[in-house]
Symmetry: C2
Subunit: 294 residues, 2 copies
Amino acid sequence: MTGLARFSLNQQTVRQWSLPELAAGCAAEGVRHVGLWRGPVQEYGAAAAGRLVRQHGLTVSSLCRGGFLTAADPPARAAALADNRAAVEEAAEVGAAVLVLVVGGLPPGPGRLVDARERVAEALGVLAPYAAGHGVRLAIEALHPMYASDRSVVSTLRQALDLAERFPADRVGVVVDSYHLWWDDTVAGQLARAGKGGRIAALQLADWVTPLPEGALLGRGQLGDGCIDLRWFFEQAGAAGYRGPVEAEIFSTRLWSRDGAEVLAETLERYRRYVMPLPQVVADPEIVQGVTER
Amino acid sequence: MTGLARFSLNQQTVRQWSLPELAAGCAAEGVRHVGLWRGPVQEYGAAAAGRLVRQHGLTVSSLCRGGFLTAADPPARAAALADNRAAVEEAAEVGAAVLVLVVGGLPPGPGRLVDARERVAEALGVLAPYAAGHGVRLAIEALHPMYASDRSVVSTLRQALDLAERFPADRVGVVVDSYHLWWDDTVAGQLARAGKGGRIAALQLADWVTPLPEGALLGRGQLGDGCIDLRWFFEQAGAAGYRGPVEAEIFSTRLWSRDGAEVLAETLERYRRYVMPLPQVVADPEIVQGVTER
């Protein structure tokens, strides 16, 4: 296994690339996994996109994203469920084993986070069996608390696990994303809990840099540019039993303005430097003993 | 006690006002407390600022802010301690019983949040007795996790209490700020913990609105404009035993571009509508009985 065997390039890191460019670019660098997004997949055709990446020796580590399941009024809920069923079908067609769910923010009007999370749980009760029927595992992604109002009422790994654990582990897991979770001092314990339950369905990495841009969405940092201990996430997920792909998912207008191949090469270099295990220094017992005795 | 007896206007809500304008503007509206900031207080002179607000019948609910105590290298630490001693002296001079501390973010270079929090604790060990000697209580403010790298390695009320509880309650308390804490589903329990320990030193309110502006700092929402249940914070703090001032602290370029008096009037109207207790419906026992029997 080369060092890159687990690396996955999430499509949003090189949004400037078309799907064929992504597939060819990844193959050229020996990348084996990609994370895809519904928009470009729909445009290309999900089945065709699946064939394209397979032809380039790539597996699809995840499809982003379903979710937005917090609406209270019946027509909006029905529309959200229909859209998520379509997302499940697209995941199956493109060959993604995991469909990432961003659960949605607070709907307009008075409402409480806890109620919105309950509506997500209800929706998962409908969607999880549907996804299982398509061979697709749902994965709840906790988003940074700065998105709690407009994108995700699930802000911590604990909340994501509280939701996921209402369902069988092979049907509903969680996404572990360094960008969303790095600040939380309970995350080590929750990673262990996730591992014990076999709930880690995906691992995504981006670094945290400031200042945040307007909207707080497209200012993620290239691996190593920020303050997150990315190797810690890699190792903790490993210690918890996760052996799957490791996606670099970096929404960044700065990266998008550059040449895609250059961005991928840089991302791989950063992955080797900041994520992959450090070389083990194998101690020679005699030398160690000699040092000790001196 | 009028409904406004506990309302406090934090100076940053009407940054367009000078200190004399603030004092006169608050007095004109019957406001009894103000939260002040070190910059304008230093410019005016702390003792003079204290006299000015007292002449207008105002007390100073808090002085913002000391802190930024996470640096690791000795010269930076010494400078931070000196600056915080000055902040304590200014708080005493201006007549503020509480000095708000924003503890600081991650210093440059590799480092862990937990280590940075330990350095804050060490600094508090020096500053808390100094502040007590000046009749000033330190109050640790948990800032929203989106500020964890550059402003505050204390992101939750639990972390703030973990730090504060290493010191006597009359020396180190916590600030409860709706803007920073609203997303956290453990906050009710932590508010109760804070109340039980007599740790709530200040209550600040702002609403959460999106999109966040660049830098994520100056886009707080006027009370009632966002998604936070502000009355819940008021009531929970009350249930936990807090009876002190309630500061409206709204950093917002939108508010700053308007007339200060208009902003204060609007803030008071919003405070009455979204924060103050709803009128108690006092049931007439006979009528209630009648209804029950019917």
